[in-house]
Point group: C2
Chain length 148, copies 2
């Protein structure tokens, strides 16, 4: 488990976990949270700018969170996002994709008002099985300081 003191800019953490995305998981997520044709219907999706069924960007974001929680970034106290500075989806996630995460620490700052914690600014890249980035996110995570 990593405390704030264990993190420094440039550190890279490669998650061991993998998440499989399937036609079924894409449609199940989308029916609940993003019921648009390109996420729930192959034939309709083929006629859109996606050119076929693609996962909702929020499905990719949620799957990324799961990969971080599953050891992708072993922070003491858990993965708690204070905010997100950027999310981009350079490529669609397709049925059959297998995702993993790589996180790089960009900045580390102790909190002035809360001496027991600080913020780590982290870039998390979500990659598919061809090592193509499908999501790039920069988030500000609340990280506990090592108890004295």
């Amino acid at each position: 488990m990593l405390y704030l003191e264990d993190l420094k800019p440039g550190d890279v953490h490669k998650g061991e976990a993998r998440a499989s995305v399937t036609t079924d998981t894409i449609k199940t997520f989308a029916r609940e949270y993003d019921p648009q044709p390109f996420h729930i219907d192959e034939a309709a999706a083929a006629k859109t700018m996606f050119g076929g069924l693609a996962a909702s960007g929020w499905h990719t974001a949620a799957t990324t969170m799961k990969l971080l929680v599953d050891g992708g970034l072993p922070l003491a106290g858990g993965i708690i996002g204070a905010s997100v500075d950027e999310v981009r989806w350079p490529k669609p996630v397709r049925p059959g994709d297998r995702l993993r995460v790589v996180s790089e620490v960009l900045e580390v700052r102790p909190s002035k008002s809360r001496p027991e914690q600080g913020i780590a600014r982290v870039r998390t890249t979500t990659l598919n099985q061809k090592d193509e980035p499908v999501q790039i996110m920069i988030s500000n995570l609340v990280v506990l300081r090592r108890p004295a």
Copy 2:
């Protein structure tokens, strides 16, 4: 349905749809995508900085997407995020909360390379039943231009 030509900075769109968040939806989402104690176990959550069960920020983001798709922002061609510039969660979402969205157009720019579309930069605020913001997101949405 709104095309790029119908949008201008300062336009505000209030979604009519509402989404209820319950203990059950919080835990169901979190078990799949964000299985941390503060999202899946009341007793454990009470001992964390959340002080009780709270929805995953990604659950709030996904619910926001559903509210946008359900008429919160009636864009021709759908709600397609090119990227997100910022997401903040000023207050936790709790069991029993009832959410809605309000979107404000910040910027509108036609695409130079793709004459049939453009980008609208939009701030979407997700509010609970007490009109407290629980998520503030700035996203860049792909919007179709009105066919000639």
